[in-house]
């Protein structure tokens, strides 16, 4: 494949959490400006803009997001090409891939990719309804399924088939909150215990409140440019060495095996093939832990642990800072927060920060290759990106 | 031609509540009420059940027991006083649910507690005249009594469906006759949630007068007395009224008890005689003769003289639950849960 090599030359993000004073435009622009400043570029150098966003149309009654962000970023006058990308929870990761493809193909040089979601302006009930649009409306939601309930079905089955325990699920949240406590931009920065998780209100058995990522407001952005010119803008360009995307059945009940996200496995396979690497080469991973069970599936399906061993590996500390593979050092969706469209970019921002050696208290030693894993729905879309210090 | 029941099916929700539990909340001696009404508990529908779902379940049970092709059903009538819609028939949804649609006629009936038996009479006419091959008549209800009112102790939920035809009849309906007058003993105005009633006026001039009149008319016409029947079933708003009218007509306990469901199910309104008849058919044998008289406030009584045929010996009754089975595996509720289920609690903001 004759594609140009692509690098990330700048990153930026807002805090994630309850951002009552900030509008959707505010958070989108804040993250974008930070990334652009970090990349040392000017507006007239931006060729294209990609925005990952799941559902601004229902959260804030605003569609046409590409044009909105381009306008408020001051890029409308330059008539920059602006595209909104949607794939439910994987909107950010997919936007990153679209930006990557635009630069790799040679069509564009400098591309800004951002993701933003403003979830808290609507009630919790409304928010839950909006998020369930990622499921199969006619054959899951209408019959009584919710996003957490379907993940609970996965958890129950995983426990049945592999003996994964309630405690092991809790350990995912405990670890991620520990990491979050080391991340100044995380939504939740306090450590928790197993008891916190297992004593929290039941959402859908066996998943409790602390097994579920929060709703959040937030935005994150990266600036891409061809690797060959990256050093003009930054001392440590981070190359995107692999990008993989895959789909699977929309509804969970149509999957071959509900305890495996085939989309994750295929996306990873494709990304590793592009990078000519395997999971053994990865030092640090940001995976899609919208539920504790999701992280267990992710670390299995990405190849870090055998199917069924994800719970045990987490319990043994193999995925913490200093473990075999540092997973979700940012705090993950669970503690860093999950503004849906922003998550895929926030993962990239964390990996870049780590690979640059700028992660301070949560720095992974000698981090050289990183992986970001972003999922839509209950696994109908998956994006995997690989990054390497340039 | 001979017309009769080709198949039948019943359904009663599994939740129950006792008069004691209801009485506790309203400062009424529930135990005494229970004794006075001869009701030990009444059935309560789940929040996701209504007259439509009950009718569907009863009709599907009815279809499970026979080999009739649903496409041969030419008419379907559902009688109830708690149709979910005031306008949009229960019957069309039931027809779709048993795959009898679209080549049939459908309508909903209302005549207080005898709407289901009115449906049976209509189907008898359509079949007997050769207009249709099979007709379905359903009596089902999820009626409500106003909180604290006497009716709250008995108003319950359930229903039964009958497939009326002229072939492979398991029980012939040899005669039906009715007695109908304008008697305002019990009514519900359009838009009102709960019915109202005339207290003692609902007894002698209403229930007893109409049932006795229809019953006597039937016995005169058929030249029979109580001794000629194996079973008897009457409309049962409680356990007391049907027991009294049965005694007045000369029926003995062994004839009446199998169809007396009010003590364990309460008053299923349009489902009352249909369910009682189902319970009798659950145990009847070829040659048994059944005397059935329904009563609907407003007011009217439909009487039926039914004889079980030899075909009953081949009937696949086991393919659907009997009334006794539907009256097992129960879950008893407290008043709060019952009130929540029955929509008696005002929910916030809509």
């Amino acid at each position: 494949m004759t594609m140009r090599r692509v690098a990330i030359i700048g990153v930026g993000a807002t805090e994630f959490g309850e951002l009552w004073d900030s509008s959707f435009r505010d958070i989108g622009i804040t993250a974008g400006l930070a990334a652009v400043a970090d990349a040392n570029i000017t507006a007239d150098q931006i060729d294209a803009l990609y925005v990952g966003n799941m559902s601004a149309g229902r959260f804030i009654e605003q569609e046409h997001i590409g044009a909105l962000i381009a306008d408020y970023a001051g890029l409308a006058r330059d008539h920059v090409a602006a595209t909104r990308v949607e794939a439910a929870g994987a909107s950010g990761g997919l936007a990153l891939r679209q930006g990557f493809l635009a630069v790799a193909s040679g069509l564009h040089d400098i591309v800004v990719v951002g993701g933003a979601e403003k979830m808290l302006d609507v009630s919790d009930v409304e928010s839950s309804i909006i998020q369930s649009a990622a499921l199969d409306q006619e054959w899951e939601t209408v019959l009584g399924a919710t996003f957490p309930a379907l993940h609970a079905l996965i958890a129950r089955r995983h426990m049945h088939e592999y003996g994964t325990t309630r405690e092991q699920l809790a350990d995912v949240a405990v670890k991620n909150h520990k990491h979050g406590s080391l991340n100044p931009k995380a939504q939740f920065r306090r450590e928790i215990t197993r008891e916190t998780v297992m004593g929290s209100p039941m959402v859908s058995s066996p998943l409790r409140m602390f097994d579920c990522a929060p709703s959040s407001d937030g935005a994150a952005a990266v600036v891409l440019c061809p690797l060959e010119s990256a050093k003009k803008f930054t001392e440590i360009p981070i190359e995107i060495i692999g990008s993989g995307q895959a789909s699977d059945t929309l509804s969970l009940h149509h999957r071959k095996d509900i305890c495996t996200m085939e989309a994750t496995r295929m996306a990873a396979k494709r990304a590793f093939a592009m990078a000519n690497m395997t999971h053994k080469d990865v030092d640090i991973a940001e995976v899609h832990d919208n539920f504790t069970i999701s992280e267990i599936l992710a670390i299995e399906d990405l190849g870090f642990f055998r199917k069924g061993e994800g719970g045990k590996a987490t319990e043994a500390g193999l995925t913490g800072l200093g473990g075999e593979i540092a997973v979700n050092t940012s705090g993950g969706l669970k503690a860093r927060g999950d503004p849906i469209g922003a998550t895929g970019l926030a993962q990239a921002v964390e990996i870049v920060t780590q690979l640059r050696g700028k992660a301070e208290k949560r720095q992974v030693k000698d981090a050289n290759v990183g992986l970001a894993h972003n999922v839509g729905g209950t696994g109908a879309t998956a994006l995997v990106h690989l990054f390497r210090r340039g | 031609m001979k017309v009769g029941i080709v198949s039948y099916g019943a359904y009663v929700p599994r939740y129950r509540i006792t008069p004691e539990e209801i009485g506790k909340v309203w400062g009424v001696d529930g135990k005494a009420m229970s004794k006075a009404l001869m009701i030990n508990c009444k059935s309560v529908p789940s929040p996701d059940e209504d007259t439509i779902t009950i009718s569907v379940e009863a009709a599907r049970n009815m279809m499970r027991r026979c080999d009739v092709s649903p496409g041969d059903i030419g008419a379907l009538y559902v009688g109830s006083e708690s149709h979910p819609y005031a306008v949009k028939p229960t019957g069309t949804i039931v027809a779709e649910a048993i795959e009898a649609a679209p080549n049939l006629t459908v309508a909903d009936y209302e005549f207080a507690c005898k709407a289901g038996t009115a449906a049976i009479q209509t189907c008898m006419g359509l079949v007997g005249s050769g207009m249709i091959k099979y007709g379905v008549a359903i009596g089902a209800d999820t009626s409500q009594g106003a909180p604290g009112d006497a009716l709250e102790f008995s108003a319950s939920a359930g229903g039964a469906a009958f497939l009326i035809g002229s072939e492979k009849i398991i029980a012939t309906i040899d005669k039906t006759c009715s007695y109908t007058t304008d008697t305002p003993d019990f009514w519900r105005r359009e838009g009102e949630m709960y019915p109202r009633h005339g207290g003692r006026f609902t007894g002698e001039p209403a229930y007893f007068k109409h049932i006795m009149s229809a019953a006597k008319q039937m016995m005169t016409c058929m030249n029979t007395t109580a001794k000629d029947y194996t079973y008897a079933v009457f409309h049962q708003p409680n356990g007391k009224f049907p027991s009294r009218v049965a005694k007045q007509l000369g029926f003995a306990d062994p004839q009446v008890l199998p169809g007396l469901l009010a003590p364990t199910i309460g008053n299923t309104y349009s489902g009352s005689v249909p369910l009682g008849l189902s319970a009798i058919l659950d145990e009847s044998k070829p040659g048994d003769r059944i005397f059935a008289v329904a009563y609907g406030s407003g007011a009217g009584s439909d009487a039926f003289d039914i004889t079980v045929t030899d075909e009953m010996a081949h009937y696949q009754r086991g393919k659907a639950p009997t009334v006794k089975e539907l009256n097992s595996n129960l879950k008893f509720l407290d008043y709060a849960t019952y009130a929540k289920f029955r929509g008696k609690i005002l929910l916030g903001g809509e």
């Binding site: 009930v125 839950s128 309804i129 409306q137 006619e138 054959w139 899951e140 939601t141 209408v142 019959l143 009584g144 399924a145 919710t146 957490p148 309930a149 609970a152 079905l153 996965i154 958890a155 129950r156 089955r157 049945h160 209100p201 039941m202 959402v203 859908s204 058995s205 066996p206 059945t249 969970l252 009940h253 149509h254 509900i258 | 599994r14 789940s46 929040p47 996701d48 059940e49 209504d50 439509i52 779902t53 569907v56 379940e57 599907r60 949804i93 779709e96 649910a97 795959e99 086991g318 639950p321 009997t322 006794k324 089975e325 009256n327 097992s328 595996n329 929540k340 929509g343 929910l347 809509e350």
Partner: protein
């Protein structure tokens, strides 16, 4: 919230579990589709409408405490993935039971219940929910 025409369109499948059989590969699927996901265009003209019997076994289940608003009166409710006898898996609620009585493998049967309504003056939506298959008592009380 489903609107009347969108809901009505799926009534055959929601009331009577109408799915399809691909006569190219012989597999049964639910809900109906234009083409078989395995045989693709080879299945055109070979799709046969079939009605599932309604019986199956629980494949996974959960007790939903924070669920759909339309199910407020039934909170918590049981949601399950049911593996139907013919092969396809279906997502639906399990009713007429307590969650503690159910396990992976419990046999269930489809019944019709209210799924939701478009407000107190709107259309009521009906569809399948599952009930545990009860052993028939030999000697009924």
């Amino acid at each position: 919230m489903a609107t009347a025409p969108r809901f009505w369109r799926e009534n055959p499948s929601r009331y009577n579990l109408v799915g399809f059989k691909c006569n190219s590969c012989g597999k049964t699927y639910f809900p109906p589709r234009a083409i078989c996901p395995v045989c693709h265009r080879k299945s055109v003209g070979k799709i046969e409408v079939v009605k599932l019997r309604g019986t199956g076994k629980i494949f996974s289940l959960t007790e939903v405490h924070e669920g759909l608003e339309e199910l407020t009166l039934q909170k918590p409710y049981v949601l399950a993935m049911v593996e139907m006898d013919e092969g396809p898996k279906i997502t639906g609620q399990v009713i007429d039971c307590d969650a503690c009585d159910l396990q992976i493998g419990t046999p269930v049967r489809a019944t019709m219940r209210k799924l939701s309504e478009e407000g107190s003056s709107g259309v009521i939506h009906y569809g399948y929910k599952f009930a545990p298959v009860r052993e028939r008592p030999e000697k009924a009380e």
